[in-house]
Assembly symmetry: C2
Homo-oligomer: 351 residues x 2
């Protein structure tokens, strides 16, 4: 929350707040015909070669985010990014977004300015127009609902159900860092809560050397760069999704929907150095974190064997295994050569 | 809440719940290429003559609805309908919908079945496909976010900013009934709360002769029939919106955005008999209720003077006044011929 100045939202009213937050918006996409200010946004997707993609996510205070350590600008950025990521995960290009927020009286106009600054920064970086939404009140806390709309070339959208039985399994970036960032924030929150302190002595959380983990947790980046690389390399993935609930969980989705098994090699799972250090500090198994941690927003995809030589040339993409016949099951092959069944321990359990 | 049987949502998990609620869905629209089950829904709006309309609404327990007297099936129906209404209000046809819900542990699988039964009934009646959404947990109460997507013929979408200075102002149906329905429900809730009672003796609220008011509050109908009538009569409104915050508030929006004034005649405002009786019972001014009550979901639109003879032939549409030059202001002409300034007293004040 901003401390410096506090303007009550009631001073502006709902329409005044929306006007205030969106007054300087200029659409970046030719498909955005009419944006905020009417019953609907009006879009033009009438070109003959496009399909329209729609994804939506809801984020609730206390369940998906903790405002003790998440600045509102970061929250806005991440909320937008997780939706943008879903458009890329279909091999699409994000174009428009609607943002709805329900807020209790503890939020000020300045808080909403911070939140929208994060939303608009994410939109700007990925060429997305904010075209609508809803602003309303909540009796408790903050609720956020975002819908992102994008486009894919006709017939080029990539689903979860297209993987073949010998396809190669690829993943972008590295895994487990966002989860380790969350552990770090939770640890420092616990220290803060258990240490006597007063408002005049600022609390200095110990984040030294772990900035990358924080960034992965607080400011994830949707991998539009990987989608671009794939297009430039002439690779059309057979299946794809973004990793929000953890690699294991997402791989199981793809295997089930594509009717395949899979083998993934432990030694090939990409893990950043800081992730490994943090896991050791916390006495956690780093591979368990990388497989199940979630919120990586990296891309998981499969390509035909014939694309092997192309895919190994891609920057920041790693081959981690291959699809198999469904009766062979879904396995992790450990460094010692053992086959362990892949299990989802993702965020589903929150519900 | 269902009393008969209670299945915890944790027994199914998030994905299980979504599968359970949506397993029998069959898309009705050719523009729905791929529905629930991937990162995005995939739609086809590539015909040359369509624009895409997008609207979204967020509904919070305790702010927008009170589960003491709103059955979950009705809540689902109404939540869908208010979004469908926004598509009609642009002169569009609703096609797809995403539904996100955040729910606390007090909700069961059976509760969600009721809620989705209402959503799906509304969708079915208006030819809309449920194509996606998000289901997550909430620490407190129920939060609902719905996005509806529709289409309009190219160049035929009707905005709020197109009214001309001599256009006729029209409204469908009648006004104030939904607000009176709310007053009735609140009155009976107060009676229930202040009367000693036990669980074995069911409370019988006094709704006799007021069923229409309840229906208007609990089960509003988006006026797709009016849009159809307008098309068949060859009338292209110059401006249009649906009445969710009250006639005064919406008329002021249209006047501001179209840069006009307006004169509306009190004696022409359509009011149902039950609305008038209820207002008298509650000692309220029925015109104040009709002008400011909100949640009518009727259509307010303007047409050129030259369409006068066509528009008076329309069923369930009433001519209530005309636009004027902006410097003449926005007025209600009372039955005694006085000019009173129109003021918005809509739901904005909730925030």
């Amino acid at each position: 929350m901003s401390q410096a100045k506090r303007t009550e939202i009631s001073e502006l009213g709902e329409f005044g707040l929306i006007d205030h937050l969106t007054k300087d918006l200029k659409p970046q996409n030719s498909s955005t015909l009419y944006s905020i200010g009417d019953d609907c946004a009006v879009l033009d997707y009438s070109g003959n070669d496009k399909e329209v993609l729609v994804t939506t996510d809801m984020l609730m205070e206390g369940v998906h985010f903790d405002l003790t350590y998440v600045p509102l600008k970061h929250l806005g950025y991440k909320s937008a990014m997780v939706n943008i990521s879903d458009i890329y995960a279909m091999n699409g290009t994000p174009r428009q977004m609607t943002v709805s927020v329900a807020l209790s009286k503890r939020f000020s106009v300045e808080d909403m300015e911070d939140f929208y600054a994060g939303i608009l920064l994410a939109c700007q970086r990925h060429g997305v127009d904010l075209v609508g939404g809803d602003t309303t009140s909540s009796l408790t806390g903050l609720a956020i609902s975002i819908t992102c709309i994008g486009e894919a070339e006709k017939g080029k959208a990539v689903y979860r159900n297209g993987a073949g039985q010998n396809d190669l399994i690829c993943v972008s970036g590295n895994l487990g860092a966002a989860y380790m960032g969350l552990q770090l924030l939770e640890r420092e929150k616990a220290v803060f809560n258990s240490t006597p302190h007063n408002a005049n002595e600022p609390f200095n959380p110990d984040f030294a050397g772990k900035e990358y983990l924080l960034e992965r947790q607080l400011k994830p980046e949707a991998r539009g760069d990987i989608i671009k690389e794939l297009r430039e390399a002439g690779i059309q993935p057979t299946s794809m999704m973004d990793i929000s609930d953890g690699l294991s969980s997402e791989l199981i989705h793809i295997c089930k929907q594509s009717n395949t098994g899979c083998s993934v090699y432990q030694e090939r799972i990409p893990i950043d150095y800081q992730t490994a250090v943090m896991a050791e500090e916390l006495n956690m198994d780093v591979y368990t974190c990388a497989l199940n941690g979630g919120e990586d927003y990296e891309l998981l995809f499969t390509v035909p064997l014939t694309d092997h030589d192309k895919v190994i040339q891609l920057k920041d993409v790693k081959l981690i295994g291959h699809m198999t016949r469904p009766e062979l099951g879904r396995h992790l092959v450990t460094k010692s050569g053992q086959e362990v069944e892949l299990k989802a321990q993702g965020w589903t359990s929150n519900l």
